[in-house]
Amino acid sequence: MIAPLEPRLAGELAGIVGASNVLLSDADLVAYGFDGTWFDSTPSCVVLPGNAAEISAIHRLAGRERLALTPRAMGSGLSGGSVPLGGSIVLNTMRLNRILEIDETNFVAVVQPGVITGDLQRAVEARGLFYPPDPSSLKQSALGGNVAENAGGARCLKYGVTADYVTALEVVLPGGEILRTGGKMVKNVTGYDLRALFTGSEGTLGTITEITLRLLPLPKFAKTATAAFDRLEDAAATVIAILNAGIVPTSIELLDRLTMQCVEECRPAGLPVESDALLLFAVDGGYENVVDAELARIAAIAHASGASATRIAADAAESARLWEARRAISPALARKRPHKLGEDISVPRSELVAMVRAVREIAARHRLLIPLFGHAGDGNLHPNILCDRRDPEEMRRVIAAAREIFEVAVALGGTLSGEHGIGILKKQFLELDLGPAALALMRRIKDAVDPLGIMNPGKIFPGPGGIEAFDLPGERA
């Protein structure tokens, strides 16, 4: 157990944010010691600032006293990015939760980091605008975390990831300086792209306090279709055939049988659990006949590639049910085994069939249940290794399988993470992916921005406490 922050420093924090916004009780420290992964690491203090000025003052204090800070919004991440390591102070940004502006002329929204992703989407859609990035956690993830981890979602195939929408940021740097970069303009190539640097920096370079996001006009029509397959490989091959035909659906999602079984238990959507795999398509556009024609082409190609059945959702309610089910997959997997190790590999789509085959082979060889689902259209897959952490023998197989999945992905020209970030979970494998030169440059960038190394220590870069050295029960820190 980490000792709570010493009273002198807690008192200084209280002077900045008010005593009720400094949490030090045993219970509070336990509650802020995790995210959506299985890591537990108790902070020494939780501080709940209300604005950028307070965050700047917290950063100044942290610099002066060499205190580590871990920025956190909703704590729904899947890489351990917001888990406070080594007694770091959790800097929670959920009180900064206002949509500051929806600019209907420039098509941007200015938001604070504690705004829930889905809430922003509803707010802009009410005005005929559209914020496409849709992580499956959109109901429970905040935009600060989305930017910090560069979140993706099902619509990335057509619309890209969070970074493609960040046009400006306000960031409190280590030491307390407040930096603003970018603006509401569409084009901006002045100097290095600092928006890109901070987006996906996982809290290691500063605390994000304001975000300007690009918006699009809301497509007038959006429809959903499914195609069931007796063979997983056929489903993967169909994805490539559709894209090669020049069609760009909003989303092409892949669910294997095990995935369908888990999700049908909690969000019954009539998924064909007897099939080996399902593809779930979304198509959107400004003209209904174009959307319908694309869906018809998709169905025809799926049949030609071996689909046993295709279906176009009858109405918005059926469509909503299917996407609700899709978004529930990750947590629903807990129904099969106590724990899961969720991966987030991303490969060029030409390698989709090879990747899918490799995951099945690795699962069989290590005698593990690895449901496979993901954003097949953009090559981003989530093999989830189901396990029981209390079984050390099984965990050795789990970690061996995880390593092999990474190795195959990288060998196929892919990468460790498509949208979850590296955090703690994948840091041991960073060099395997980046190579020595890129890793060394990233270290130099980190040292230049955060010379004291106090921003979210223990994340991204290889070091102790990663998954390979993962803590078996009995070794819990």
Partner: protein, 440 residues
């Protein structure tokens, strides 16, 4: 610290690791949790509280640490988190035993006067409904004579630990619906179903008119309705307060009464009771002698709205020109997952316009005795609810649980609003009455 660290729970009723282990900490429950929405603090969220329970079980957090005790008490047990949880975490099965554990660990430190008051409340009143009725008659006198204001001001209720009870039955009906073996035949014979009416405890003394409406609507729907003696309180108050053994004693009497009645269905018009009655199977899971009987009993329990929606109601509905908004009781929407049935019933009523409010299924803050254990949070949630009700501009708020009805009525009165609060069956009953009135 390691797994061998002893659990800080002990004895019977330990929150099961198999339940909390199912939480993958995705955080989807947070935006559904009333106390999280009010505080934005993880500790006050379902995911946070599950982590606390796990930490206590793993010896990382003290059972009696102020933060843990506060969170176990601050939770409304509204179960909204359960309804949205994709992983299927049965949250109620964690919070109730956790409260039992705290209750046991702190029993010795509870002042004797409070223990006495509590034992009187839970044993004498809820165990023997004739004492509740007697007390209710006194209470009605107490409420109407001006004595109430005097006693409340005196602070004696707090001293005796009776403040909770005092608030539970604030407005006693002029007549009670005591179960005395009554039989009400179906309007059309032969009857489709024999329905056992759960008269309830608070319901029978404070909401007798709801019970009467329930009987009439069931009779019209083709049910012989019976109200056998021997039944009693469902035990929810005891179970939610962490008194699981008291809850089991009460449960056994209802099981026996139902078995002896020969009825096909056990009908409840209070969502909180229905939820507890449907969980008898779990309550007795570890008891070989009662597990099967309890599970069989629970399988026959139906909320009155669920039951009417299933068997179909009589079509002779007369017009009820009113704008109605429906407040979802937590223990109906979340614990029993019944959301569509009451709305379908309301929409059957000619002339009735159902207008949805925002956050209909977010707890109103009533939650049994919550008003007294967590007055500040209860008030915040009550205000939030009333704002949403007013925004919908209804003439009537429909609901299906006594706690919600009391909280809404109090809130509306405080806001100076003339909006009536009615149970769904009361509106159906009124609609039938309107039809009869129009008959030549």
């Amino acid at each position: 610290m390691n797994e061998l660290a002893a659990s800080n729970f002990s004895g019977a009723d330990i929150p099961p690791a198999s339940v909390y282990d199912q939480c993958v900490r995705c955080g989807l429950c947070l935006p559904s949790c009333p106390t999280y929405l009010e505080t934005l603090v993880e500790t006050s969220s379902p995911r946070g509280r599950i982590a606390l329970i796990k930490a206590v079980d793993e010896g990382r957090l003290d059972l009696t640490s102020p933060g843990f005790m506060h969170q176990m008490s601050e939770c409304l047990d509204c179960r909204a988190c359960e309804a949205v949880c994709p992983s299927g975490v049965a949250y109620g099965r964690l919070i109730e035993p956790a409260r039992t554990q705290i209750r046991r660990a702190t029993a010795a430190a509870t002042p004797p006067a409070q223990r006495l008051g509590r034992a009187f409340a839970l044993d004498a009143l809820f165990a023997h409904l004739w004492t509740m009725r007697a007390a209710a008659r006194l209470l009605r006198f107490y409420q109407r004579s001006g004595l109430q204001r005097l006693v409340r001001a005196s602070g004696i209720l707090k001293l005796l630990g009776l403040a909770e009870l005092e608030a539970l039955a604030p407005n006693i009906s002029p007549r009670f619906l005591a179960p005395q073996g009554q039989r009400w035949p179906a309007v059309t014979q032969p009857a489709k179903v024999r329905a056992f009416l759960h008269a309830g405890c608070v319901m029978q003394v404070a909401f007798a008119e709801v019970g009467e409406a329930t009987v009439r609507v069931l009779q019209r729907a083709g049910c012989d309705v019976v109200a056998p003696r021997g039944q009693g309180c469902c035990g929810a108050i005891a179970v939610h307060a962490g008194e699981m053994d008291r809850g089991r004693a009460l449960a056994k009497r209802n099981i026996v009464a139902f078995e002896a009645s020969g009825a096909d269905a056990y009908i409840v018009n209070a969502a909180g009771c229905g939820s507890a009655l449907k969980e008898y199977g779990q309550l007795f899971a570890g008891d070989a002698a009662w597990a099967a009987r309890a599970a069989a009993f629970s399988a026959c329990v139906k909320d009155v709205t669920e039951f009417l929606d299933e068997i179909g109601i009589a079509p002779e509905l007369g017009p009820l020109e009113a704008t109605v908004t429906y407040q979802e009781p937590c223990h109906l929407a979340h614990a029993q997952r019944i959301s569509a049935a009451p709305r379908r019933l309301l929409e059957r009523i000619p002339g009735l316009l159902l207008r949805e409010m925002e956050e209909s299924s977010l707890c109103c803050g009533s939650a049994g005795v919550y008003n007294l254990t967590q007055p500040a949070m209860a008030q915040q949630l009550g205000r939030r609810k009333i704002e949403h009700v007013l925004a919908a501009q209804p003439q009537i708020v429909a609901t299906a649980n006594p706690g919600c009805a009391l909280q809404l009525a109090n809130g509306l009165r405080e806001a100076g609003q003339q909006i009536a609060v009615k149970h769904v069956v009361e509106l159906l009953d009124a609609s039938y009455a309107a039809y009869d009135l129009a008959l030549p």
